[in-house]
């Protein structure tokens, strides 16, 4: 039963080995000039330890939410496109309805000005 999974296991083992080997090679051959800044978790300027109760602008959330919405559209469209022939006319109708509803939402978002950053 498990024979079918052997390629996957090989793939997993290969991937893991590749990652480990690369990191270890880097450690072996790379030059090291440590400073205190370099030892912090995020060296790009974020404070790693501070109060989590920080306020973000609502705009970030808006973009995030809109992104998820339209991203799901793609997640939906992709498998649909792959099996489009098999689904036939009904598949087309269903997707047309879906896209239409999404468009209405898009129109609403656009008119309400949620797409503008300022």
């Amino acid at each position: 039963m498990l024979e079918g999974y052997i390629p996957i296991f090989v793939m997993l083992a290969g991937g893991a080995a590749f990652g480990i080997v690369m990191v270890k090679l880097n450690e072996l051959f790379g030059p090291k000039h440590p400073t205190e800044e370099k030892y912090t978790t995020y060296e790009s300027g974020m404070e790693p330890v501070k109060s989590a109760r920080e306020r973000f602008s609502i705009k970030f959330y808006m973009v995030a939410v809109l992104f998820i919405l339209f991203d799901i559209e793609v997640v939906f469209l992709y498998p649909w496109a792959v099996t489009f022939k098999g689904l036939g006319v009904n598949g087309f109708i269903t997707m047309a309805v879906f896209i239409f509803i999404l468009l209405v939402g898009y129109y609403y978002v656009w008119r309400k000005g949620a797409l503008e950053w300022d």
Binding site: V89, N90, I93, Y107, Y108
Partner: protein
């Protein structure tokens, strides 16, 4: 495979309402600040959908590869949801104008929630149930926090959302377990193999998860904790909508899964439901006594009513189903009526919400006091109002199913409930006070509430009007 276009054409109530929701959204977005337009469009949409529902009350046909059932039982439930939504919208206009939160989206969200409810009632598949519940709930999360600058509204919205998401997790888990054991999500197929499945404990856990999720939606103990806080913080008309439409939808699903699909009579599921019903009746009624805020009182009362109706589910027989359908149609109108009157009295910043604010109302506004008294009497289950027959039928179902103890608890706790319902009537009629309604009640709102009261009296005198229709739906 037949064409989906014909299916769309046949599912007129749901489709027409959804189209109206989208149209209203477009119109609302296109024009600036004309919520009245949305108000009228949504009302028209509801009337159209109700018309299609009435036309299809008779027979029921499966659509979309037996995903949805159109007509019959679902049309009956549609009418309950639509009635609730209609009253809620009519009542909301003045209320929102007064609070300066009159927005077109409000109505769109109500209609979309109603579409979700209709999907729930029409569902022939667990996936559609899930879809319907989510559509309804997401709209309600937003509506609960609609008065967005009010702290309590935000709190209630967040609480409802978090606990709702929690419950949704269990719903999905339950569906997954049922799919895993039954091999299908189609209700009819699951129903066929229920006798064998009911010995499979994995399946039973799945069904138990469904009970948990649905009980959350109907606010039954111990999954009721959100209800008082959410009802208190939400706009009053939305509390009305949540406690009637949303609850009715959850019961519609309860009926279609646990009575129409599973034959739960005598199984462990029935025991669990009976216990939940009993605890809900006791906790709801007892806690309601200690409340001073009317919205909270009605929240606990709605928990108790969920208990009464759950005893019909626990019975799992034809009387139970018919009884619940009758109960729902009565309950929706009496509860929305009570909330509606509260919304007239209520003032900015949650003022005038306590019992004492109603003292002496009858001398200032005799008509309003009389209507409130009718709703209270009906909620208490005093004949000749519809509430009495609702209780009678579900308790009858419990007795027929051999759960006399449940009926006894029901009657005893109803007795307790009389206290807090009549307390309001006593205050309105027999205490001196300065209770008054600051602003004039609009004619449509008054008419809507009066119609609800009239409906309760008619149903109370002539219960067969609804019972005869409801009887026809049993086992499709």
């Amino acid at each position: 495979m037949n064409n989906y276009l014909t299916d769309f054409w046949q599912a007129t109530p749901i489709v027409s309402l959804a189209i109206f929701a989208l149209l209203t959204l477009i119109v609302d977005a296109a024009g600036k600040d004309k919520p009245v337009l949305s108000y009228w469009m949504s009302l028209i949409g509801i009337v159209v959908a109700a018309g299609f529902s009435v036309a299809s009350l008779g027979a029921s046909t499966p659509l979309f590869n037996t995903m949805l059932a159109q007509g019959g039982y679902s049309s009956y439930c549609n009418l309950i949801f639509l009635g609730s939504a209609f009253l809620c919208i009519v009542l909301s206009r003045n209320y929102l104008e007064r609070l300066q939160y009159h927005r077109g989206e409000f109505y769109v969200l109500i209609i979309l929630a109603t579409v979700g409810m209709m999907l729930m009632a029409a569902a022939l598949d667990l996936m559609i149930i899930f879809l319907g519940i989510e559509l309804m709930s997401i709209c309600l999360y937003v509506l609960a926090g609609f008065i967005r600058k009010k702290e309590k509204a935000n709190e209630s919205s967040l609480k409802y959302f978090l606990l709702g998401a929690f419950a949704t997790g269990f719903l999905l888990y339950g569906i997954a377990l049922i799919y895993g054991t039954a091999g299908t999500t189609n209700l009819a197929l699951i129903g066929k193999s229920f006798p064998q499945l009911s010995h499979n404990s994995l399946f039973m856990i799945g069904a138990g998860m469904l009970i948990v999720a649905f009980s959350f939606k109907v606010a039954a103990v111990p999954f009721h904790m959100w209800a008082p806080d959410v009802y208190e913080g939400s706009p009053t008309t939305i509390s009305a909508f949540m406690s009637t439409g949303a609850k009715a939808a959850a019961f519609a699903v309860f009926v279609s899964v646990f009575i129409r699909t599973f034959d739960i009579g005598g199984t462990k599921l029935s025991d669990v439901l009976a216990i939940i019903a009993a605890v809900s009746m006791i906790v709801g009624n007892v806690t309601a006594i200690a409340q001073n805020n009317l919205k909270r009182m009605l929240a606990y009362s709605s928990i108790a009513h969920a208990g009464y109706m759950l005893s019909g589910i626990a019975a799992g027989n034809i009387e139970g189903e018919t009884g619940i359908l009758f109960y729902l149609s009565a309950y929706v109108f009496m509860n929305i009526g009570a909330f509606g009157i509260i919304s007239w009295m209520e003032q900015q910043d949650d003022k005038k919400l306590t019992f004492d604010d109603y003292a002496g109302l009858s001398s200032q506004h005799p008509a309003v006091a009389a209507l409130m008294a009718i709703f209270m009497f009906s909620l208490a289950g005093i004949p000749p109002f519809a509430g009495f027959f609702g209780k009678y039928y579900v308790f009858l179902a419990a007795v027929k199913a051999g759960m006399t103890w449940l009926a006894i608890i029901g009657v005893l706790t109803s007795l307790i409930s009389v206290y807090y319902y009549l307390r309001l009537v006593v205050l309105m009629y027999f205490r001196d006070g300065q209770a008054s309604i600051e602003e004039k009640v609009s004619a449509p709102a008054m008419a809507a509430i009066s119609c609800a009261a009239l409906f309760l009296i008619v149903l109370g005198l002539y219960p067969s009007l609804v019972v005869d229709i409801a009887k026809g739906f049993f086992k499709i």
